[in-house]
Homo-oligomer: 461 residues x 2
């Protein structure tokens, strides 16, 4: 990076907030994308840590003058390489924008700076009797701003939806340096094209989010976790849409194969409660009344027992629930060292059984080991393509493409919650038409005429 | 309109589906926008009624060649002039795209062509035991496609949200003639910039919607309507956020001033049940269990009685409920002949009491009669500015601008559900910054480089 750029950045944010040596910057070069498929980061980068939106605006204006790319960075927990700089760049970290600005109990909303971690937000909400935020992408180190631009999902989407459903307002520094405030604490707002919703899920290519206003919910008074085990994948998957068709809306319905459940349990020193069966479905219920919780639990247990369940457990104590959920949450960490790629497809919930049968058949055809875990209740399953002898298997690209085509065949998506970033760009045309990609490029150009913000992400202009 | 254009249109859709004489076309020139403030329609228009998306594509491609504007038209129930052609145009009516294509009970979704009316959709759902669609903008002649591009709201938004929350997929013919399918029956989908959400609320300037996939809900088993009356506006408005702060989420909380309730009741030959009080709040509850309905009704009645309610009624019979709702639904029709403008602002629900106090003070300052009715539970109140001697009052522009500025001061919006269209464009800069309007223009240009689709709506490029 040119010394001149570094000097200007130091002038804008102060010397303490600019990192230049590789020792200091290397923790900022990658996100959580699987090591074998992530792009190689450019090492000639400078990390800058602005303290205000105005400083970010100055940096972006300067970057436009000298045409140096800027790569925004939140918690670095992304899984599509959106935060990896692939050319000499200014890495702009929002870690100093870490204040929770307002808990608005009257409107049930929270406003925080983008660099607040999910962990910090959840901790803050513990101070209140009755406030709940439902989106949980697994890693609580995620920054709220990153969760907004990646439109994070996670397990709670069945009942409460994803980030898009919670975000009411965003403050954004545009690529050309203007600061705009989009949306507000509103249920209805129809003032022209909706820039707020365009910014959600934009993966840092349209602007740098600096402030987020989110919906909150009353804390559900009663929570319960059901664990139901089956002898095979087919039976386990088939029960998922049937639960929803009862008119029951759990917080989450998670699917997990036993071998990775055991791996995860071992990884964190817990014990998986079921011995029978080889595939598990977890149903998390949240209800305001205890009797509702019991009633719905019974309906689900009866349904599962009529559909070949071999083991059912109603986890009643908080400890039991925590243990099961911790095992589920740690699957990724436990398995990722041996995974080539963790796919992130989704299909309509009713199509999950057929889709997964096709996916299993594809894995058999390629002789691949593809364990699966995921948010079956919202149609989103993560199929791992495992390494062979520590390497990307030779069939990886062909199998991945075949799986993506299968998802699209069922009206699904190649990326449900991880995003396109830099790792899924090459396959975007399996889902989107040429014209849609052209429109995305056109929008990108309208926001960022010089293409300085996060180049090589989603589309190349 | 040039004869040559008419001939080409006849070749595309067939002679029967092109209307050219003013006799035939004049029913297509206006929407439901208040007569005194709507723009004057250009009369030199031709109406074309394509039968397929492919015919629409051909029309749009041709319009780009000869640079003739195309104005899309649904049910003509809009309230912002978006469907009024202000220059010589091809008016493209979707009335022949009127098929309900699929009721998907497994995924709880319906797919229909854009020209299906809300009435037809609701009637179809009656054939099913347990399916419910919550968005109701008042006029059931609205087309589903129009409701999508206007992001329609209505009374049910408190519990279920607006069109944006229900739309899962759209088929759209782009201004340049390509047909794209956006979204799908998915809960999660993160493939790049979200064109689906950009199209929702785009008021017919980015494309012509031809097919819509919507979420459905299980029919709530028990519905109840509470009517609570107060002696003054202040007490009535103050109770609204308090109801929501109980953790109760009704289907709707409606606010209505007595004089217009009586006018509406007379208009449709019904009797308003309350004699005490001068301002009413209606709370519509929908619950799965009867005891929940009674329990919540009691909590609300107690709360209102502790906050100066002078009359409360729990409407238990379906007939009683229908009568009250019919009176509420017909306010607009009953009052509009004497209204200059029906404003459509919204503010955060918690700010409604302060906002409305400011609005009442402004009306006093201008000596204006400004009755109010609206969806108080979602922050959206329609303030009428009434005519004086049948004309637009001299203070109209000044009062409207002052009211808009008041909404913006509370973090609100100048248009919550009606849209910007052609009538709110001049005031858009009270809410959006110059840069935001520039971005909207940039997006419009990326979609419609020749500006042929619905020119003069939302922005002028």
């Amino acid at each position: 990076m040119k010394q001149e750029v570094i000097e200007v950045l130091k002038n804008i944010v102060g010397e303490d907030w600019v990192l230049t040596s590789l020792d200091q910057t290397q923790g900022y070069l990658y996100d959580e994308t699987e090591a074998l498929i992530r792009p190689k980061a450019a090492e000639d980068c400078v990390v800058v840590k602005p303290g205000t939106p105005e400083e970010i605006a100055q940096i972006l204006k300067y970057a436009n003058e000298v045409l140096v790319p800027v790569v925004p960075r939140g918690g670095g927990t992304g899984l599509c390489g959106a935060a990896i700089p692939t050319q000499t760049s200014i890495i702009l970290s929002d870690e100093r924008l870490n204040k929770i600005l307002e808990i608005d109990e009257e409107n049930l909303m929270v406003t925080c700076e983008s660099g607040v971690t999910l962990a910090a937000l959840l901790e803050k909400l513990h101070d209140y009797d009755n406030l709940f935020f439902p989106v949980h992408p697994g890693d609580e180190g995620a920054h709220i701003g990153g969760m907004a631009v990646e439109n994070a999902g996670g397990a709670g989407a069945v009942k409460h939806g994803i980030m898009r459903n919670q975000i009411k307002g965003l403050q954004v520094v545009l690529p050309t340096g203007e600061i705009v405030n989009l949306g507000g604490k509103l249920i209805k707002n129809n003032t022209g094209l909706d820039l707020l919703h365009l910014m959600i899920g934009s993966e840092g290519i349209l602007g740098i989010v600096t402030k987020v206003t989110l919906k909150l919910y009353p804390e559900p008074k009663h929570k319960g976790t059901l664990l139901v085990s089956f002898d095979n994948r087919k039976d386990a998957i088939a029960v998922v849409p049937k639960i929803l068709q009862q008119g029951i809306t759990p917080l989450a319905i998670e699917y997990m194969e036993r071998d990775i459940a055991l791996e995860s349990a071992a990884h964190i020193g817990e014990k998986w409660p079921a011995e029978e069966g080889s595939v598990d479905v977890m149903i998390i219920l949240s209800e305001d009344k205890e009797e509702e919780l019991y009633e719905k639990s019974e309906v689900i247990v009866d349904l599962c027992e009529n559909h070949n369940a071999v083991y059912t457990l109603i986890a009643e104590t908080a400890k039991e629930q925590r243990s099961i959920l911790a095992i589920r949450s740690n699957v990724y960490t436990a398995v990722v060292h041996d995974a080539a790629d963790a796919l992130d497809m989704a299909v309509p919930v009713g199509s999950i059984p057929d889709f997964m049968n096709d996916i299993f058949a594809l894995a058999d055809k390629y002789g691949a080991r593809t364990p699966a875990v995921g948010h079956a209740g919202d149609g989103n399953i993560h199929n791992f393509i495992m390494r062979e002898n520590g390497e990307i298997p030779s069939y990886y690209e062909a199998l991945k493409e075949a799986m993506y085509k299968t998802a699209v065949k069922y009206g699904g998506t190649i990326t449900a919650e991880h995003g396109v970033g830099k790792t899924r760009m090459a396959n975007l045309n399996l889902q989107l038409s040429e014209k849609e990609i052209e429109l995305i490029k056109g929008i990108k150009k309208a926001f960022d005429p010089n293409g300085i913000l996060n180049p090589g992400t989603v589309v190349t202009i």
